[in-house]
């Protein structure tokens, strides 16, 4: 992190502010439509996907290890300082997702489209585990209760019988992976398109 220049930190601030703005506007709006206790799947997947697109686009412009994590930290702090007040769930999700994106990018080593897709997939996959972690932390609920509720919700969403609980959980997890990979894929395109636009306009 010591290698970041002033320009790098400003870019980190820009992408943190963009992700934060999405969290504070769209996130707050979706929270009203889907109360968090009722639907963490849809809400979490949408917000994590968008966050992944923004943070990974930021990586195009700050191509150093740790930049995505710093973008996530800035976003989480903005969320904490926002008018809506402290919301622990989204703050934890933002930081863990950015950590997972960093891990994905480290695994990929070179900045490639597939590396971005891996990072995005890892980030959005956190949405699956987030409910287990937060329900344990916030509400003291164990793995079993959360899994049962997830299977019930999933069976309604997918139209599958609750007897296929493992299949339901696997499908829910795979949907998250796919959404995340698409987010990473799009971030690669978006970063390139922004770079071309800036180059064209001098």
């Amino acid at each position: 992190m010591k290698t970041f220049t002033t320009r790098d930190w400003v870019y980190i601030a820009v992408f943190g502010a963009l992700w934060g703005a999405i969290e504070m506007t769209l996130g707050a709006y979706l929270h009203v439509i889907f109360p968090p206790l009722a639907d963490t799947f849809l809400l979490g997947v949408i917000m994590a996907g968008l966050g992944g697109i923004i943070a990974l686009t930021g990586r195009h412009f700050v191509p150093h290890t740790g930049s995505v994590l710093m973008i996530g930290v800035v976003t989480a702090l903005l969320k904490a300082l926002s008018l809506g007040g402290v919301q622990i769930g989204p703050m934890v999700a933002i930081v863990v997702e950015s950590l997972l994106m960093e891990a994905g990018l480290l695994l990929a080593r070179q900045p490639t489209r597939w590396g971005f897709a891996l990072a995005g997939a890892l980030a959005v996959s956190w949405n699956f585990f987030h409910k287990f972690a937060m329900m344990r932390l916030l509400f003291g609920q164990g793995f079993y209760e959360v899994a049962v509720n997830m299977v019930k919700d999933g069976s309604k969403l997918l139209g599958l019988d609750v007897r296929y609980s493992i299949a339901i959980l696997v499908v829910l997890f795979v949907i998250r992976l796919v959404v995340g990979a698409v987010a990473g894929w799009l971030a690669w395109d978006l970063g390139g398109a922004v770079r071309r636009r800036l180059a064209r306009e001098g």
């Binding site: 992190m1 970041f4 220049t5 320009r7 870019y11 943190g16 502010a17 903005l78 622990i88």
Partner: protein, 236 residues
């Protein structure tokens, strides 16, 4: 330095951070029945420090969330063993809902108390103290950028909408919208970089006084440690 002062002892930002970590740890560790003790301690701390941390208690949205956990518990959790008119309720579900609500209260208040005591400048100083000067700078820039970003985004959105972009080719319009917003933000950031350079800002050089761990912070840490051990290990 933050507001809490007693017998000439002042809590610094470290004290509030210690308190937050303590509360987070205990929320995870304490058995259900003892969460009320933690909630009492958090409330006492908030009252003694006189911070704005109790503000969430005045928000209807906050109470809706807490009370919904309490109300939904007997209806959706546990085995139904009570009948109240046409309603089938669960006693176990009621208790689970109650512990849920108490844990949510504890965590939200602990975060709120700690963060309300830390102004943006305090946070920046804290980051500087731990060697993350650039992060404090980035947070300040991001906070100041939010209104500009909002303005730019609204202008880009209305331009595309008035040209019928979102109706005819929504995906293309969305892509153009994102490219425009990000490109404008990055162009604006060049001005910020120039302004920082003009002020001789250097992310690796520390300027202000570091936040020092005060005697009051140490005292608080010892008290919280004792309370933590008491809450978790005392045979009630």
């Amino acid at each position: 330095m933050t507001r809490f002062e007693i017998w000439d002892l002042k809590l610094s930002s470290w004290g509030y951070l210690v308190f937050l970590l303590w509360a987070l740890l205990l929320v995870g560790l304490l058995p259900d029945q003892r969460v009320a003790l933690l909630l009492g301690s958090v409330l006492l701390f908030a009252l003694f420090t006189g911070s704005d941390g109790l503000r969430p208690l005045r928000r209807p949205h906050f109470w809706t969330l807490v009370l919904s956990a309490l109300a939904l518990g007997p209806l959706v959790l546990g085995e139904k063993d009570l009948a109240w008119g046409w309603l089938r309720l669960s006693q176990n579900g009621f208790w689970i809902g109650l512990w849920m609500a108490l844990r949510a209260l504890c965590l939200t208040l602990a975060f709120s108390v700690a963060l309300s005591a830390l102004s943006v400048s305090e946070m920046v100083r804290l980051f500087e103290t731990v060697g993350l000067k650039g992060l404090g700078f980035a947070l300040g820039v991001a906070l100041n950028l939010l209104p500009t970003l909002q303005e730019n985004a609204m202008a880009a959105y209305h331009t595309l909408r008035l040209r019928g972009g979102f109706r005819r080719r929504p995906w293309q319009a969305l892509k153009l919208f994102l490219i425009t917003v990000i490109a404008n933000a990055l162009r604006h950031s060049d001005d910020v970089v120039n302004a920082a350079a003009a002020r001789a800002f250097e992310p690796t050089v520390r300027r202000g006084e570091p936040v020092r761990f005060q005697r009051a912070d140490g005292l608080l840490a010892v008290v919280l440690l004792g309370l933590g051990f008491g809450f978790t290990l005392w045979p009630f």
